[in-house]
């Protein structure tokens, strides 16, 4: 009971197998220098003794770590709510796991805390590199972390991510596609409920949205910046629908807000999609469980995460990979979009 406390080390294995520490190390790292017979004997002993090399000691001497860091800076309750993150993380994991690498996760309150955390992690040699998300315009992390010299991938448009290799989706094109689709259905007053204005991709979408609306000669579009959560999504929807010139279609920046918007529409007596079309973003499973199901700009978040992890490995291996663009979110029409009323 209560573990002997004496943990077995490479020395024990070496002694038991009748070889030196060095031989055990060579064997376990599949390096030449030990015969097949000896290698097998060493493995047998290791299994018998229940030994695994100490990652700590290994990384101290080899200067390598098998951990990558991810700091998320969003209010805790939002993280729980948004399917995006877990999907993204599971995508990252799928790539990390096959290289027996682990993910170090931490939630932080603000960017300063995030920068401090990365400094601690990197200087403390706890991580080999990091994944940076949620870029803002003139993000303070770009200079700070670049100064650190820490390898990292940035999730966001290259314009925002500075010196870090970027992985991103073409939000501008996707936004344009969304607007064109709704316009093709006859909608002339289209509104958008976006994320926080200081978030880089929100800004990109806002611009693309306005540009496309102008280009198609639609009526001046109303866009509302929110905090990404369901309350703000609901409020924004209410605001839009109460206006005299209420829109006949609304595009949301994530699916949480779209679902909340659908609730508000129902509550206010609008029928989706007959009176009002709704178009979500990200397209998690959430869009498929509501009634009516939500049309969305869909986007394989799991693969996105996987691609990010792959690029990070390239960076860690010194492969100088440029930016990687992941497939543009594409329209997945479902039950929440239909021709504009009276068309």
């Amino acid at each position: 009971m209560s573990g002997t406390g004496e943990r077995v080390t490479i020395k024990d294995v070496a002694a038991r197998a009748g070889v030196s520490k060095g031989a055990v190390s060579l064997a376990f790292n599949h390096k030449p220098g030990v015969s097949e017979a000896t290698r097998e004997r060493i493995f047998a002993v290791a299994r018998e003794l229940g030994w695994a090399p100490s990652a700590t000691a290994r990384s101290l001497s080899s200067q390598r770590v098998d951990i990558v860091g991810l700091a998320l800076c969003r209010p805790a309750r939002l993280l729980g709510l948004e399917p995006f993150y877990m999907d993204f993380i599971s995508g990252i994991e799928s790539v990390l796991a096959e290289r027996s690498c682990s993910l170090l996760l931490r939630l932080v309150r603000d960017l300063d805390e995030e920068i401090a955390l990365y400094q601690e992690w990197w200087r403390g040699r706890m991580i080999a590199g990091a994944i940076l998300v949620d870029f803002r315009e003139d993000d303070p992390r770009v200079p700070a972390l670049h100064r650190l010299g820490m390898p990292a991938v940035a999730v966001g448009h290259p314009r925002l991510t500075g010196t870090f290799p970027a992985v991103w989706t073409d939000d501008a094109s996707a936004t344009a596609e969304a607007v064109r689709y709704l316009a093709a259905l006859g909608h002339r007053r289209i509104a958008r409920v976006g994320g926080p204005a200081d978030l880089g991709h929100s800004a990109i979408r806002t611009r693309a949205f306005a540009d496309t609306v102008r280009e198609l000669g639609l009526e001046e579009a109303r866009q509302i910046a929110t905090g990404f959560d369901e309350k703000e999504g609901a409020r924004a929807t209410r605001t839009l629908l109460l206006a005299a010139d209420r829109p006949t279609a609304i595009v949301y920046d994530n699916d949480i807000m779209a679902v909340a918007g659908a609730g508000v529409a129902a509550e206010m007596g609008f029928t989706v999609p007959d009176d009002l079309s709704l178009l979500a973003w990200d397209d998690s499973q959430l869009c498929r469980i509501t009634h009516p199901t939500l049309s969305a700009m869909s986007h394989d978040v799991h693969h996105f995460g996987a691609e990010v992890a792959r690029v990070l490995f390239d960076v860690l291996n010194g492969v100088h990979t440029g930016g990687h663009q992941v497939p543009t979110p594409s329209l997945t029409p479902r039950g929440s979009t239909a021709p504009a009323p009276g068309v």
Copy 2:
């Protein structure tokens, strides 16, 4: 540009401050043995040089690690969908962060992989302890990990978690409360859509549900075991509603399935809550964004996670804490429950 590569170590700091490595170590660990003046000088130099102690080296020599592990064994797509996990993780984080401890996360495919992972993590001294979730009846992790001697907290009923200190909610009482509530509304045919039968807490709820139904003299209850995701939740709901003796109320084991169930009900022409009452579990924000809002057995998952982390720290500090019961989920009536039709 491109980081000098030369990372600063304790030796550099010591040299620059004109003291020995030992002095720097003492200063940074706030141990007696250095004067206030020297301590400050050392800190100043460390700041100037941008040094932070190497966690790797530190844990190699001090035999301590500031990382705890969490392996999740659920299909990736479900993880993304279920708000539970992120909420739970953010609760854990809130406690870890204040002790500057990080969370090592990994998704695994099955229990064998999970056991192997913990062995690797523990023997490799990567983690100080672990958080175990999703216990099954006769869970193979109990003997395997107990043999490892790894400190851990178990999330689940003590009957299932064996030798590990447990943190759990009283699912039996909560289930009973749910049934009593619906019975009080006049429902006589109540069904339940549960999680996988081999999951420990599903089994507990199943039993409690059947017991309470019998105790109240309600009609024989139909319970369906599913895989926790929205598709199975929808299918189970369809099955229940197509039966000749369809229930007038359904209890779901998580909110995903409840939302899916609401969709199915609408699609089949039932009005919630007039024709059919629905009661969810876990009560994430998801229950508040649907229309009508979902009544739920609510449960502060964030606090649950925090409590789990706290107990883990107790274990790590040798405090022999018994099992901790977290407040029983309590009924939060919203728009999806109402008196049975004709009452």
